[in-house]
Amino acid sequence: MINKLWGFFIIVGILFTLLMGNIESLNDTILTSATSGVNMVLDLLPIIVLWSGIMKIAEESGLLKRVGNFVKPVLSKLFPSLKKDSKALGYITSNIVANAMGLGSAATPFGLKAMEEMQKENENKDEATDAMITFLVLNTSGVTIVPTTVIALRLMHHSNNPEEIIITAILATLVSSIAGLTLDYFRRRKRK
């Protein structure tokens, strides 16, 4: 999938730019995108390193397991293939809670740890498991309760009520998460 998508972006992008005759901007894009990639990693680096450290404490102290236990009844229904005491459940919970609070960048390290834990239980190392797909569907359908960036931007543009969109965002998120999880459920069952 990523294979095809990656090729598609590059091939279509270059061909269309050439067609429109913007050779100079194309050169610019190719030469500078490595730098913007590095900048992106540099933005992520301190956050991931810091939160991995803090989360290690949560893991060693047993906190992560306790949080996982707390939401287990709900989560284990969504992730039937994960073992009940799986560390992945704890990380999935942390990721979703951080995402819901609009702390996207703090959520990433938890998500990466969750993937790592699920990969340990994966028998076919280059293929996604059911649990991974459910997790990513849940994650990307965006369980956002407080869209912090959007509110900040609305405030900047002198909105009369920057927070008013929280209601519509929560409801829309609910609809999209349920739609995504339902489709995921049927596709998972169809395979068996």
């Binding site: 999938m1 894009t29 990693v41 993937m115 407080v146 829309a172 739609a179 596709r187």
Partner: protein, 173 residues
Amino acid sequence: MNTISKMIIPLFVLFVIFYGFRRKVTIYDTFLEGAKEGLITVFHIFPSILAMVFAINIFLNSHLLETIFSLASPILQKISLPLEILPMAFVRPISGTASLAIMNEIFTNFGPDSFVGRLASTIQGCTDTTIYVLALYFGSVKINKTRYALSTGLFADFVGIIASFILVRLIFG
């Protein structure tokens, strides 16, 4: 709302450290151990981020999307869909920065409290950079065969966009 979300991170850190301390975990050494693991994670995801940024930049800077939407604008006006929202919706799965930039433009041109402004805010809040997230997460554990992950994720985003349109109409009129 804002103060609550500002309190979450400090309280979380406080709680984790306090809990670890009470459970007699060697917090400093454990932190270093975890941080080292984090560094390895970054090392592993670096190539996939670089690869994705490279491809996405080439695609976005070709302005193919803008060209397609300007061609399709007569049809879109008929179904009373605000044209400005489409490039944002299409860019959203691949780049958070790019879709925020488009939303900023919508706010400047129409105001955040206009129909398009509210719609853009809602869509931004209920969707995610699905393609980027999948590339990053699957890349970090070296998974190539992603099965039905992408189409399911994009389907959820699509439903979210339609729901946003209906909800903003219903709630704000």
